[in-house]
Structure formats: structure tokens, C-alpha cells
């Protein structure tokens, strides 16, 4: 094992740094948190820049328009862009990380040429319509139906917590096509054009006060059969392929950002209020130790990321590392948020910045940490996965009402 980057990898890093140094100062200001049209335009413009420079779809296969680079280069890309404070993947998340790779792997040639270039070039935004009011952790129990009518499916039902739905052009949609088959075997994966009649998007306000995600109502929405990815009733398997694309790199930008947040938190802790005779939080050894413990945890998670990425590079697929990382990282983010709120005290009582105290990003981070333990599989579900699939403990007996 080693943590040394090869000459090629270092060259890739150098070129990227140079490119970032040139391009970042030319970017327009970041739009406000709830200016969704503005954010869409900003994120797509950034993606277009990446595309022109050859940095779009670093780890996508070459025949899908990507760079076909190793997970290690993807890791370097994410590390460098985040360290340079380049824009985050933002509304391009589902297209670049979920729908795109799924279509690249499972789509037919027509679907690949129709959808993939538009994602890479920053022309189309995707969202993920998986969860429903009645199907969150138990995703396979989803109830949105699709009934075949000639060469179309007629879709009825509701999705919820659909991130970025209000600015999306397409949706990767899971629907039930066989109501009697066992629940995993009656699901189909569809590409939904968000402009199709019958779709109502109603933004939901998050606890952070923003409209990050929406409810999506589907009433007699007609989807061409040609938009089906994979076979009818084989959508669960397609969805599992979707989930497997993270290749251990899904949280790299996030982790880089977390390390910066801890450093800023330490800086905040150093500030007392001398005028009013208030000592700094740093003077308190328990606070210092909690911060130090967090820093160690993030270092350990970075090492674990290097391991997962190396595993993906060797085997093409990530190992069991995904759930382990997700659980540990969610916990670390929550501990970080808790500590931030303790250190901020009254300064934590505003989402907006107070007198350049640095509170805004910490308060945002506190709320974000909470969502980490819920989105993309709750911490309890991750523990079930680790216990059953990694440690081999017996499954729970099925619950029956009687």
C-alpha cells in the first residue's frame, strides 16, 4: 500500500490546478440559495466549462463521452476543485452521478446518444424520482403505477423529496409495472421528460428554510416505452446499478469541505470577546479535545476514502466500503454540527452571517449533517446493511400483523 501519486496523476493534478487558477476568477457571483433558476444556469455554465476543458465525466467510459480516467483521477479532480473552491456539482448531481452512468451502462444506443452528451455538456438537469410518501427506506414498496397503452406507459402516483425537481429537465423514475409480482420484481426504470403534461411539482421547504426538494405529482403522465431503461419489471436491478456508481468517490468534495469547516470552527473557537471579558471557547480543554477528535475522525475517513478508491481502481466496483463510509461520515458530520452549535452559542441563532463571525456556514453545516443521516439510506438502514451483508448476521424475521 502507498499514498504516493504517480507521475501521470501528479501531471493531471498540476494541469487541473493551472486551469482552475485561470478560470475561477472569471466566474460570475454565486446566486442566492433560493434563486433556483439562477443556480441552474450557474451550475450548467460551470459544467459547460468543464466540458470544454475536457474535465466532464472524468470517470465515465470513453464511449459514453467521458474521459475514462481512473477513480484515482476522479478523486484528484474532486479534491482539487473543492480545495480551489470551484463550484460544486450542484444540480448536475443526479445526471452526472446517477442517471448518466446508469444510462451509459444499461441504456440502448439511442438513449446513450440522446441523453449522455447533454449531461456532459451542461445542457440538461436530471432529478431522481425514487422515494414516495409510502416508500422511503422500503423503496421497493413504491406504488406509482405505469400501465402500458400501445407504445406508451401511463403513469400515476406521487414522488417526494425529489431534489432539484423544480429545475430539472428529466427524471429517473421508478414505477410499478407489475402490481402482483413480489415487490422487487414489478419495478421499471423510466426516463421522464419533466415537461410532459400531467406533472405537478410542488416545492417543499426544508428545515434549512430553502426549497431544496419537491413533491412531484404524476397524473396520467404519458411516457414513451422507448424511454424505458432495461427490461420491464427489471428496474430494481437497474436501480441497484445506479447505486453502485458511487465508486467510493461520492463524498470526496464533501469531505474536503468538512476539513475546511473544522478549521474555520477552530478559528471561531479562538475568538473570545475581550471587550466583554468573555474567554474564547478554545480556552476550554473539552472543546479543544472534541475538535481534535473530529479532526482525527476526518483524517481517518480520508484514509478510508483512499482505500475505497484504490479498491474501485483495482476491481472496477467499490467494495463494502460505501455503507461503512456513509455511516461513519454521517456521524462525524453530526458530531461536527453539534460542536459547532455549542461553540457558536448565540451566534448560531441566525442562518445569515452576523458581523463576519463565520456562523452562516457552520449553521448550514449543522442542518446538512442532520440530512446526511437520512438521505440516500438512513443511518439505521446503513447499519442493517453492514450487519447483514458485511458481517453476515441473520436477517430480521418478517413482520406480520395478527
Amino acid at each position: 500500500m502507498n499514498l504516493r501519486y504517480s507521475e501521470d496523476e501528479e501531471a493531471f493534478r498540476r494541469d487541473l490546478r493551472a486551469w482552475l487558477a485561470g478560470v475561477l476568477p472569471t466566474l460570475p457571483p454565486v446566486p442566492a440559495k433560493d434563486d433556483w433558476e439562477g443556480r441552474r444556469a450557474f451550475d450548467l455554465a460551470w459544467q459547460a466549462r468543464l466540458y470544454e476543458a475536457g474535465y466532464a465525466g472524468i470517470d465515465w467510459p470513453v464511449d459514453a463521452g467521458g474521459r475514462g480516467a481512473s477513480p484515482t483521477e476522479q478523486m484528484i479532480f474532486l479534491e482539487e476543485t473543492e480545495s480551489a473552491h470551484a463550484p460544486y456539482v450542484g444540480v448536475n448531481f443526479v445526471g452526472l452521478l446517477h442517471a448518466g452512468p446508469t444510462i451509459a451502462a444499461m441504456g440502448d444506443p439511442g438513449q446513450r446518444t440522446r441523453y449522455l452528451p447533454a449531461i456532459l455538456r451542461g445542457e440538461e438537469v436530471w432529478c431522481q424520482g425514487f422515494s414516495e410518501p409510502g416508500a422511503g427506506s422500503d423503496l421497493a414498496s413504491l406504488a406509482t403505477t405505469a400501465v402500458r397503452d400501445g407504445d406508451e406507459y401511463v403513469v400515476n402516483g406521487q414522488k417526494i423529496w425529489t431534489s432539484h425537481a423544480q429545475v430539472a429537465d428529466r427524471c429517473e423514475l421508478l414505477v410499478r409495472t407489475d402490481p402482483v409480482a413480489p415487490k422487487h420484481r414489478g419495478i421499471t426504470w423510466l426516463i421522464l421528460d419533466m415537461k410532459t403534461p400531467g406533472i405537478t411539482v410542488r416545492p417543499l421547504k426544508t428545515i434549512g428554510g430553502s426549497s431544496e426538494f419537491s413533491e412531484v405529482f404524476l397524473d396520467d403522465v404519458r411516457v414513451p416505452v422507448a424511454n424505458r431503461v432495461g427490461d420491464e419489471n427489471d428496474g430494481w436491478r437497474v436501480a441497484m446499478v445506479t447505486f453502485s456508481f458511487e465508486r467510493g468517490t461520492a463524498f470526496i468534495s464533501d469531505l474536503v469541505r468538512s476539513r475546511e469547516l473544522v478549521a474555520s470552527l477552530a478559528a471561531i473557537a479562538h475568538r473570545g470577546d475581550i471587550r466583554r471579558g468573555i474567554p474564547s471557547a478554545w480556552a476550554d480543554s473539552a472543546t479543544r479535545q472534541e475538535l481534535g477528535r473530529l479532526a482525527a475522525e476526518l483524517d481517518g475517513l480520508w484514509a478510508l476514502t483512499c482505500r475505497n478508491v484504490s479498491q474501485a481502481a483495482r476491481q472496477g466496483v467499490p467494495g463494502i466500503g460505501g455503507s461503512v463510509f456513509k455511516l461513519a461520515y454521517s456521524q462525524a458530520r453530526q458530531a461536527m454540527g453539534d460542536l459547532a452549535m455549542k461553540i457558536l452559542g448565540r451566534a448560531g441563532m441566525s442562518f445569515g452571517e452576523i458581523e463576519s463571525l463565520g456562523n452562516a456556514e457552520q449553521v448550514e453545516g449543522y442542518v446538512y449533517g442532520i440530512s446526511m443521516g437520512i438521505a440516500a439510506g438512513t443511518s439505521q438502514i446503513q447499519r442493517n446493511i453492514i450487519a447483514e451483508r458485511v458481517l453476515g448476521l441473520p436477517k430480521e424475521p418478517a413482520w406480520t400483523s395478527n
Partner: protein, 327 residues
């Protein structure tokens, strides 16, 4: 970058594991409770596998390996709970004669940590002491305390209370002494990773085999989630300790600044000792009343984990040090 174990590294870890399974089964380990923790023939066999001399140059009779490999070996020793002053003897090999070969058993103690307790006092041929000046000295043989306290917390780590006059000939000073401490910290962490990993396995095995309410207790989520958390702690700690090994070697080779190695070993030991203690506690809880008995091995793992956590940086000290790196 390739942070997966290479084929040679896997082979080294497996060879160590099968040696331990053959020569240090728990039955033997338990026998060592009454032998001060060290049996000479076994110590000599341990030396034969290269545990002590592996990092010496081939010209000095070693295998020319480095900390990258040593952390893997010590992880396996931890998994088997091999007793004795393993880390000290590894670090003294090449500097004190007969240590690499297993002819002399060398211990170490921090004089800065009171009460000053010397581990495995009856087994030692020599004792290295880390003093307040930041030096590592060889304590005069006559000054090594030999009287074991009657009730050591860890039965496999008997201790004696040191008196005065623990000075002696300086063996490592300055940068060498600092490197000694960094390596000791990393290897103690590696041993702790082994404990963390093994206690998860023991807990899982018991949870599969123990039935209550007509079902294996491992099918209860309350039990599952304890073990999932334990497994997660192990993976993070293992990655951190392996990174510490690799980073120490890169710093030694002048590729990375020493400060990075310092940080890596600090994070590694902190996470590893926390994981070892917490996982052993989890394992004990999963074992229920059996876990509270002397005959079940869990307590031996828990107690050793606490021994490791009490030296070369406690959780408090290591966290403080980490805080210093952040700010």
C-alpha cells in the same frame, strides 16, 4: 496511489496470522498469565518470524521492511492478543544486542506518566525509559523493578511500580528519540486495530450462535447496530493506522514533512484505541452474562485495549494534539 494491500503485504499478514493461530491460541495466551506474560521459547519463535527484526536492513539480519509492513504485523499480533513487550522489543532491535533474535526481552516505560508502572517486570532483560528530557535511556539492570503488583488490571500485562534511579545510558536522543515515540505510537495503534477487529468477529460469532426468544440474538437490531457501529469504527481506524505506517515511511524517506507523519500517528492511535476499547465493550455487552465471566476471553481484549490507551498518548492528549494541528 494504491492504498490497497499488495500481494506481499497480504502474504505477510496471513503468515503472521497463521503463526499466531498455531503458536498463540487463546489457550496458550492464557497460560502466559502465570508466566509473567512471556515464555522464552515462544518469544524466540516470534523473533524467528521477524516480528522484532523485520525493519532492520538485510545486512543486519533483518528483512529490510518498514513501518508500512510493521503495522500489518502488529495488527495481527493484536488480533491474537499476543502478550509481552512486543513494541519495545521491535524498536530496540538493532540497537540493543540479542533483541532481534529474541534472546533478550526489552520493555519500555514512560517516566513522564505517573504512577510509573513497568510492564512484564519479571520477563525483562532490559528496560528502555522515555524521560522528561525527551530521551530514551536504558535503565540500569539493577534499577528495573521486579516486584509485580498482586492484582494487575490486565492479567496479561503484569506491572511493577518503579522506584527512583530510573536513569541510565542514553540510547536514543533528539530526532531519533522522537522517531522512537512516533513508531511506538503507530505500533500500539496497530495492535489496537487488531483488538478492534477481533472483538467484532467474536461478537458476531456469538450473536449468530446464541438464541433467545427463539431466534439468534444477532437478528435483533439492537444487537446488529451495536456490531455495525463497531465494524465501522474498525474500518476507519484501520485505514488511519495503515496511513500512519505509510506516512512514517514517506517522511523517513524525505518525501513528506515529519509533521504529517506526526499527525498521522496521532490520529491513528487515537482512533484505534477508541475503537479497541469501544468494540471490546460492545463485544462484552453482546455476550451478556457470559461476557462478564473470566473464562470468556472478551475481558482480556478489553483490558489490553485499556492498557494501550493509557500510554504514549491518552485519548485526551492525542485529541489536544490533533486540535493543535487544526488551528
Amino acid at each position: 496511489m494504491d492504498f490497497e494491500l499488495s500481494a506481499d503485504e497480504v502474504a505477510l499478514a496471513e503468515a503472521t496470522r497463521s503463526f499466531c493461530e498455531g503458536r498463540f491460541p487463546m489457550k496458550t495466551v492464557r497460560e502466559l498469565i502465570d508466566e509473567g506474560g512471556v515464555r522464552r521459547e515462544l518469544w524466540k519463535e516470534l523473533a524467528g518470524t521477524g516480528v522484532f527484526g523485520m525493519c532492520l536492513a538485510e545486512s543486519e539480519g533483518g528483512a529490510g521492511l518498514a513501518m508500512t509492513e510493521a503495522v500489518l504485523v502488529f495488527e495481527e499480533l493484536g488480533r491474537a492478543l499476543v502478550p509481552g513487550p512486543l513494541v519495545a522489543s521491535h524498536l530496540a532491535a538493532g540497537r540493543l544486542s540479542g533483541v532481534a533474535e529474541g534472546d533478550r526481552v526489552v520493555g519500555m516505560v514512560e517516566l513522564t506518566r505517573t504512577p510509573v508502572l513497568v510492564e512484564h517486570p519479571t520477563a525483562l532483560d532490559a528496560l528502555l525509559a522515555f524521560n522528561a528530557r525527551g530521551e530514551v535511556v536504558e535503565v540500569a539492570a539493577a534499577a528495573i523493578p521486579r516486584e509485580q503488583l498482586p492484582q494487575p488490571f490486565d492479567p496479561l500485562t503484569p506491572v511493577a511500580l518503579a522506584g527512583h534511579g530510573m536513569g541510565g545510558r542514553v540510547v536514543f536522543r533528539g530526532r531519533e528519540a522522537q522517531a522512537f515515540v512516533r513508531r511506538a505510537t503507530a505500533l500500539l495503534g496497530a495492535f489496537a486495530v487488531g483488538i478492534a477487529a477481533r472483538t467484532v468477529e467474536m461478537g458476531v460469532a456469538y450473536a449468530q450462535q446464541r438464541y433467545q426468544f427463539d431466534r439468534p440474538i444477532g437478528s435483533f437490531q439492537a444487537v446488529k447496530h451495536l456490531l455495525a457501529d463497531a465494524a465501522t469504527r474498525t474500518e476507519v481506524a484501520r485505514a488511519a493506522v495503515h496511513a500512519a505506517g505509510v506516512t512514517l515511511d514517506d517522511a523517513e524517506a524525505g518525501i513528506l514533512p515529519v509533521a504529517l507523519a506526526e499527525r498521522a500517528v496521532t490520529a491513528g492511535k487515537l482512533l484505534a484505541c477508541d475503537a479497541a476499547v469501544a468494540n471490546a465493550r460492545t463485544c462484552l455487552q453482546v455476550h451478556g452474562g457470559m461476557g462478564f465471566t473470566w473464562e470468556v476471553d472478551v475481558h482480556l481484549y478489553l483490558k489490553r485495549a485499556l492498557v494501550l490507551a493509557s500510554q504514549f498518548g491518552t485519548a485526551k492528549e492525542l485529541s489536544e494534539r490533533m486540535a493543535g494541528y487544526v488551528h
